[in-house]
């Protein structure tokens, strides 16, 4: 009993403050979460449009279950890019995985036949500014553009302008460069297999 009394005497302020601040953060989060979510959707649309410029709009086609790099089952939405002529001009989806500092979320786009990569853009990342965050820059992202949908490999040196499955890492940010390649390599084959099974690709109209 004395121990409990001593514990409360010592920590009552900490306990009350924790509840109070927790409540404050919960209120702020509840008030702003829809807006933050909307900002994220707007950004996703902007990035998808940037990657698949022929598309006039995007339609969520299906949700697939993917085994993440941490061996957890996660769900990802597959967006169909549709042109003005109402034909499919590509596919886009969100991939994620661990980066150097935090989780990296990428928007990946491929062509309508799932044969060539249309590119990727970064939806969210907390990579080191000046180093790891160079995964957002065109000179690294452009290496993936038009490359065949295949398993990408990472090289420390090489010709970054050559379009193939070998990606040249960013100097000083090998972990972040590798993270992008690993994320894409993990998601692409799983999504391709499942889309083939569902008949979404292979017989594109």
């Amino acid at each position: 009993m004395l121990k409990i009394k001593y514990f409360i005497q010592q920590s009552w302020l900490l306990i009350i403050s924790s509840f109070f601040f927790g409540l404050l953060i919960a209120i702020a989060n509840a008030a702003w979460a829809p807006r933050i979510q909307q900002n994220k959707i707007d950004k996703l649309n902007r990035l998808m449009t940037g990657l698949l410029s022929n598309a006039s709009h995007f339609r969520m086609e299906t949700t697939l279950e993917i085994v993440s790099l941490k061996q957890k089952k996660i769900k990802t939405d597959i967006y169909k890019a549709i042109s003005d002529a109402n034909t499919c001009v590509g596919w886009a989806f969100i991939c994620d995985g661990p980066g150097f500092a935090d989780k990296i979320e990428l928007v990946v786009a491929v062509d309508e036949k799932f044969k060539n990569f249309s590119g990727y853009d970064v939806l969210a990342s907390n990579e080191t500014p000046g180093f790891g965050d160079q995964i957002k820059l065109p000179y690294y992202r452009n290496q993936f553009k038009a490359a065949p949908v295949d398993k990408f490999g990472l090289a420390k040196t090489g010709d970054a302008e050559k379009i193939d499955s070998e990606i040249v890492a960013i100097t000083g940010a090998t972990v972040s460069s590798e993270a992008v390649v690993k994320i894409i390599n993990n998601f692409l084959p799983q999504i391709k297999d499942q889309m083939l099974k569902e008949g979404l690709i292979g017989n594109v109209k």
Binding site: Q10, S11, L13, L14, S17, S18, F21, L24, I25, A28, N29, W32, R35, I36, N39, K43, A101, D102, N126, P129, G130, D133
Partner: protein, 208 residues
């Protein structure tokens, strides 16, 4: 005005001047160097960071000052960190909701305000020992001093690296931008020169 009132006004004035100049967190105490070097490539992110720090400093100083008589010495740092973390989370959520582009530009540096020495230093050195009014003035003065320093540094860097300020061109088109000023090396050089100038000015004043 009674002697007590005069003493209080004098204390407020001293607190204000201390934050803005005599104990300026960036130029005199060299605190909060991480955001000072990282977000001063342009004025807009620097100002946003400064305003975020003012908000957190203001709220945390109020809370710490109000709870100062109940603080257990061995739990005080924990309490300061808890208080600061709560307000930083709120500031981060606000930026993500209302200025998402700026929130992305600042990246991890907004959550990193939690470990900004200026805020914990003011909680320990001022708010936990002074009245609410002094704590509020201290928060505003220190926050303004920090913001001012960030804005001066970022203005110099933005002008030299882009020829513009607040994205408005001010240098002639013939000006060749100094790319290095946008990079970390530019931050270190500008800060070093600024510190040299401030030291020279202070020495001159002391000699007089």
């Amino acid at each position: 005005m009674s002697n007590e009132q005069q003493a209080a006004v004098s204390l407020y004035k001293q607190t204000l001047i201390a934050g803005l100049w005599r104990e300026n967190p960036v130029f005199r105490l060299l605190l909060g160097m991480c955001p000072t070097l990282a977000v001063t490539a342009a004025v807009k992110p620097a100002l946003t960071m400064g305003l975020s720090v003012i908000f957190v400093l203001f709220c945390s100083n109020i809370v710490v000052s109000l709870m100062r008589n109940f603080l257990k010495p061995h739990l005080r740092i924990l309490m300061f960190t808890l208080t600061i973390a709560a307000f930083v989370t709120i500031a981060d959520l606000f930026l993500r909701a209302f200025v998402p582009r700026m929130s992305e530009t600042l990246g991890p540096y907004v959550p990193l305000i939690i470990v900004n020495c200026i805020i914990i230093c003011r909680a320990e050195a001022c708010a936990s020992k002074n009245t609410l009014t002094v704590s509020i003035i201290d928060a505003l003065a220190m926050g303004a001093g920090f913001t001012l320093a960030l804005c001066v540094l970022s203005a110099v860097r933005e002008i030299l690296s882009t020829g513009a300020i607040w994205e408005i061109p001010i240098l002639p088109a013939a000006f060749v931008p100094w790319a290095a000023m946008r990079m970390p090396v530019g931050a270190f050089i500008t800060l070093g020169l600024m510190l040299g100038l401030v030291n020279a000015a202070t020495k001159k004043r002391k000699t007089k």
